[in-house]
């Protein structure tokens, strides 16, 4: 447990993630089809997880790992739910 991850690494990681988040969000905004948006949302969920992982390293608390477990289980339910009802032709 005695590791010191350089803050530079963490900051770069965070920047990557943030950039990813913003890009995914742009896709979410632009569409064009709803399915694209859902895909973007899916990616965003993953980004959230990555955020949490990085953060747990940053503050050195293993307890944060409980979150990804649950997000990984839950997030796709949203995706499935949205796509399930997309079959019906409403936007």
């Amino acid at each position: 447990m005695e590791y010191n991850i350089s803050i530079v690494v963490l900051i770069i990681t965070f920047s990557f993630l943030l950039a990813a988040l913003v890009l995914a969000f742009v896709r979410l905004l632009r569409g064009p089809s709803v399915n694209d948006r859902i895909a973007a949302m899916d990616v965003i969920a993953v980004i959230v997880m990555a955020f949490i992982l990085t953060y747990s390293i940053m503050v050195n608390k293993a307890i944060y790992l409980d979150l990804p477990v649950i997000i990984s289980l839950i997030s796709f339910i949203g995706t499935v739910a949205v796509s399930t009802y997309l079959k019906h032709r409403y936007g």
């Binding site: 953060y55 940053m58 307890i63």
Partner: protein, 114 residues
């Protein structure tokens, strides 16, 4: 940092209120969710923020470091769950209403006043 979050709260409120003032009931409900999120964040924020120290006491010994305030967390948790119940009920209500009347327009809802 609090100021940024406070602005987030403000924007969430703005979005919520703006949505609530729309004529569509669905938008109203989404506005409600935004407002409730904003409120939760406000409650969470106003008690002061401590980052990176979740409130888990480790056995008998009391941690020396500054702990985040657990109470607002509990309050917000309660509020979130209550909000869920209310939102779902509102959705159901709206659904039923639409089924009966075929309109989503709040301005059509004038029968019970006057």
């Amino acid at each position: 940092m609090e100021i940024v979050l406070a602005i987030v709260v403000g924007i969430l409120y703005t979005a919520g209120v703006y949505l609530m003032l729309r004529r569509s009931i669905l938008k109203f409900i989404i506005g409600l969710i935004f407002m409730s999120n904003a409120t939760n964040l406000l409650v969470f924020l106003s008690a002061g923020l401590v980052s990176g120290s979740p409130v888990f006491v480790d056995g008998e010994k009391i941690n020396a470091e500054v702990m985040a305030d657990p109470l607002p967390q509990a309050l917000v948790l309660t509020a979130i769950v209550i909000g869920l119940g209310i939102v779902v009920f509102t959705l159901a209500l709206k659904y039923k209403f639409f089924e009966l009347t075929g309109t989503d327009d709040l301005d059509q809802l004038k029968k019970t006043d006057n």
